[in-house]
Amino acid sequence: MKLSQLFKKKKSDKIKMPIRRIISNNIFMLRMAHRSVPGLLLCDIVVTVGAALTSFLTSTYMLRYALNGIAEGKSFSGIAAFVLVCLAAQLLLGWSQSFFYSKVYPVKTCKMTNDIRKVVYEKAAQVELGCYENPEYYDTYVKAINECTSRAQAVMGSVGNIVYIITNFSANFGLLLAIDPLLLLFALLPLMCIPITAVANKIVYNRNMEMTAANRRKEYTRRTFYLSDYAKEMRLSNMPALMLERFWEAGTRVIDIIKKYGFRVITLNYLKTECLEMLTPLSATMYAVWKTLGAGTMGYGDCVVVVNSISTVAYSLTNISDTLLKFQDHALYIENLRKFLEYSPKITDGDKPLPAGGDIVLENVSFRYEGAEGYTLRNISMRLGEKEKIAIVGHNGAGKTTLVKLLLRLYDAEGEITYGGEKISDFALREYRDAFSAVMQDFHLFALPVAENVLLRPQNPEDEEVIIESLKKSGLYEKVKGFENGANTVMTKEFDPNGVQMSGGEQQKLAIAHVYSKNNRFVILDEPSSALDPIAEHEMYERMSEACRDCGMIFISHRLSSAVSADRIYLMENGEIAEVGTHRELMELNGRYAEMFRHQAENYAEVAV
């Protein structure tokens, strides 16, 4: 995660975001919440107001009533009755509050989070792959996804908070005003410290900012020590010493930064506290005591109320400003979510139905990754026949995998790609992609049952046969049959103690099994055999060609031996097609392909006698 970016952006956003946007963002989030669980916020507010009033009633008002009652000579039973009524009210409201927060709220928010998540995830699966390469967008995207789980609840929490504070404040404040309007002045004193707080916050923010880089380094170092990925290297090299040194340096830098800001932070916080915790309550107390003992115009009960609740009022005021700032904070995060949800994917859906069949033709296709300096692919023209076996070979970085991504419309490129004579961007995306099965070089399996990893779509009861058949073809059936729950066994032990952990080769076989599980028009294999041993590789190719008799097959490899039997071979170099032809033609051409082939064949050549 690009933490520094996050903070940098946050800072500039903080200044820029207008109040209207802050409000509108928070409302946006509340609306989303409302759609999912209507009425929850209203209930929350009602319960909160009740809680705030009870708290006022039992702590401040009851005391005042009793003290004034004594002074006015009310009867014991009268005061006691009032106290009992207050306590009964407290119990009743307290119970309804407990009921709401223990039984209703958790279940409702659970539904709400789930609904919001789904909206976000569905969007996430839609945006084009290019978004991942655009760091700014990806940042927004990651934050949006992370935010969607908790932000709605946080906004509701802040609303509840502010309602509580305002209710409690109003009640206390109203009472103080009723006692003596001049007390208002004291209650406003804490406002003085708002500028101090602003300066203090800014300095603390700057300090934390300065620490970010060092903290990030520390975090990374920690990972190298505990992740199993690094465990072997950490035991066989001197990396631990280097990493420890780095960790130490970073920590020392953090200490220096704390020291550097130390005096300023201390002073500002000191001033803030004196203003808030000392000046306000003590001066108000002094005034009330003077009115009672000196001037004799204030009742004893009222004076005690002032002593007790002036701090509450003073705190409430600064709390309100803190809570309001929270909304600003929420708005910044919601902004990411909104931007993300309002983003319209660049890879757009067409409406033409797929033709019954046809070739895929690329004409002068060029492609540049967003933010990259040079073109990854330049002027590519090729034909991928309906039932042809096409090999694309070339060095690492020649652009082979990028080409595959264009075929699958994970990106749109310059130039034209057509299928059956029509532009591929005119087709409905889902329908178009369904025509393909692709096994990527860096395929990933999911922590789902084996069967679902084969299908890569929700499973129906009638799929069983397909699953067995696919597993058989990819040579994994025997293995899967041995699992306790067969094809319903969950992959990885992460969530299921009965889950299975497969070896690299087995995982690849499982990825390949997916190809067999559906009707494809084209099959794309991007280095699918890299983790397979030679026999498995051989079998895989045999079976795959068998299964693909009626569909096009595009395979990418740098093991040239697998390209030999292809209908056509495209040799790619630096993003361009350097040579085209069958194996025989290319060998006769005696160019780059022939040279590469001979390199690889060399070690086998003697056997060929």
Binding site: M62, L67, F76, A80, V83, Q90, L91, G94, N114, Y121, A125, N146, T149, R222, F225, Y226, D229, E233, M234, R235, M239, P240, A241, L242, G251, V254, I258, G262, I266, N269, Y270, E277, M278, L282, M286, W290, L293, V304, H395, N396, G397, K405, L410, A438, F446, K493, E494, G505, E506, S530, D533, A536, H538, H558, H583, R584, N603, A605, V607, A608
Partner: protein, 600 residues
């Protein structure tokens, strides 16, 4: 079950928390002293506040002169001014610095311990979870224990003062307040136990949700998510999981409500009963004055807060105790692979006798079974076979990342267990299938640790040999180029093949006697593979090399080839011998060679 009980017995909780304080003492003794002082000072501060309120209300209740009351307020003001100077120095300066020092100190030891531990520990999911957890939480737990200790001292001092004040007003009221506080202790402990059960039920479900979140977020899965319909499966999973979470919430909702209600009742009683009692004493018996009434009221609320917090802190110790146990376990865990005494001479030979090994937790399957082989200095040994045949496992045993279950590995005729572990590992360089590039400079990545200028020539040489030379020319910062974008957005992200070359250069740099290459060419294109083979061949003149591959073209020039199947050596000999044998090796080789033969 009995074990669990034992772990949370009060004696153990205390022992673990004391251990943690000792642990902190080791790195920052000043912090421990200050925590105690801070607790006392804050306790005194709270007491001063209580006494101030008492004096003020007394003065008011007695209808004293304004000057006297003003004096009380002003004295308190001066006291606060002074106290806050100390307070802010402590929290914003001393505390921040000492915490960072503690963080550094603790991690230094955690790191050392982490690297010492057997790699087999990583295979045990339970241990690994605890291990990651210990790494992650050790510091915050230490800080938590310290903080709660400070607060505990503070609350204790303050509640003693307050109890004294309350007794001075009315003994009966004080007794009621304290008695009800005792009931709250019980109730809170029940709530905590329920909360623990709740987290145990909800955590696995939360983990699953996080996994789904990860899949939608990470680029790794992005392609599959678009090309296939697997996102639908995951959304179903999410729904299922949410239903399960709701179920847990419902189950615990009722329990929560019961406990909360009891709590409320107790709270109401705790305020109501003393209030009515003291009201009675003021109005009917007249044994308590108005001032005393106000003080008692004030005291009831403060007391109920103090006691509540005190209970929470004590309960926290309980929780700390459980987690500290894990950290202790981690710190005190002794690796099973112990270093021997003898220093390691240059390698002459390595002999494996009857080696049998199973991974922990998978004892039913022999990863290796009765493996015998001999390696002499300067030899090139190839290990070939199916995936999962035990090839990689064998190399891990050679480096003593694991020790065999039976059989022995002899280094120059002596069991490798007798040698010093770090020296032994120093004699071996390995490029793993899953090598790692570190977020450090290129030079440091090649040097495999701290890099100094005098290593430059050697580092360049190693990169040259691993055919990384061309790329090096293109890097503007040369050897100082930061690799990965972990910290530095200008860092260089190498391609898979390039990364592998750096990993290979790391092995060359080490100048070891034995080099192990586990599928070194899997991410390389044919030209690079060819060049690399040449490089290894020239290097092999002086070094012993073991390489593992399933591309048989790479291994055919080896002095000896061992073919593995299901953990056993099924064939061994030179390429020619094995071809003559016409067994599995010959079958595999022909299969691969076939395509090249017919075509060229």
């Amino acid at each position: 079950m009995s074990e669990k009980k034992n772990r949370t017995s009060p004696k153990n909780v205390l022992k673990n928390n004391l251990w943690m304080i000792g642990f902190v003492w080791k790195y920052t003794p000043g912090y421990v002293i200050w925590i105690v002082l801070e607790g006392i000072l804050w306790g005194i501060n709270n007491s001063v506040g209580i006494i101030y309120t008492k004096n003020l209300l007394d003065a008011l209740g007695d209808g004293a002169a304004f000057r006297k009351a003003a004096g009380v307020i002003l004295t308190y003001a001066v006291y606060l001014l002074l106290f806050h100077v100390w307070h802010y120095w402590y929290w914003n300066y001393y505390h921040a610095v000492v915490r960072e020092k503690l963080h550094l100190g603790i991690h230094k030891d955690l790191f050392r311990q982490a690297v010492r531990l057997d790699i087999s520990r990583y295979d045990d999911p339970v241990f690994y979870n605890d291990f990651v957890w210990a790494m992650d939480q050790a510091y915050s737990r230490a800080a938590g224990v310290m903080e709660d200790t400070g607060k505990l001292i503070n609350r204790t001092v303050a509640s003693f003062t307050l109890t004294g004040v309350l007794f001075s007003v009315d003994a009966a009221t004080a007794v009621i307040i304290l008695g009800l506080a005792g009931l709250r202790v019980y109730l809170t402990s029940r709530s905590n136990r329920m909360y623990l059960q709740y987290s145990e039920s909800i955590n696995p479900l939360e983990r699953k949700t996080q996994y789904i979140n990860r899949v939608f977020r990470l680029q790794d899965y992005a392609k599959e998510m678009r090309v296939t319909r697997v996102s639908e499966n995951l959304l179903h999973e999410l729904d299922d999981n949410t239903e399960k979470i709701k179920e847990v919430e419902r189950t615990f909702g009722q329990k929560r409500l019961t406990l909360d209600t009891l709590h409320d009742v107790l709270h109401a009683l705790g305020t109501g009963a003393p209030l009515l009692l003291i009201l009675y004493k003021v109005m009917i018996t007249g044994t308590v004055g108005l001032g005393g009434f106000a003080i008692a009221m004030n005291g009831i609320w403060t007391m109920s807060w103090l006691i509540g917090d005190l209970i929470n802190r004590i309960m926290k110790y309980h929780e700390h105790g459980i987690f500290v146990e894990k950290i202790r376990c981690f710190m005190e865990c002794e690796p099973q692979i112990q270093s021997g005494e003898q220093s390691v001479p240059p390698m002459e030979s390595m002999t494996l006798r009857g080696l049998t090994f199973s991974y922990p937790g998978k004892e039913s399957v022999h990863a290796l079974e009765d493996v015998n082989l001999d390696i002499r200095r300067g030899e090139k040994i190839a290990i070939v076979g199916y995936n999962g045949a035990g090839k990689t496992t064998l190399t891990k045993l050679l480096m003593r990342l694991y020790d065999p279950d039976s059989g022995e590995i002899l280094y120059n005729g002596k069991n490798i267990r007798e040698y010093k572990l770090d020296e032994l590992r120093g004699r071996v360089a390995a490029v793993f299938q899953d090598y790692r590039i570190f977020a450090a400079s290129l030079a440091e990545n090649v040097a495999g640790g701290v890099y100094t200028e005098d290593m430059e020539e050697k580092v360049r040489g190693a990169l040259e040999k691993s055919t990384f030379g061309d790329k090096l020319q293109k890097l503007p910062d040369g050897l100082d180029t930061p690799l990965t974008r972990e910290f530095d957005n200008s860092g260089t992200q190498l391609s898979g093949g390039e990364q592998q070359k750096v990993a290979i250069a790391r092995a060359f740099f080490k100048d070891a006697d034995l080099i192990i290459l586990d599928e070194p060419s899997s991410a390389l294109d044919p030209d690079a593979e060819y060049a690399l083979n040449q490089a290894i061949a020239s290097y092999a003149n002086q070094k012993t090399v073991i390489f593992i591959s399933h591309r048989l073209s790479t291994t055919r020039h080896a002095d000896r080839i061992y073919m593995f199947e299901e953990g056993k050596i099924i064939e061994s000999g030179s390429h020619e011998e094995l071809m003559a044998l016409d067994g599995k090796y010959a079958y595999m080789f022909n299969l691969q060679a076939e395509k090249y033969q017919t075509a060229s």
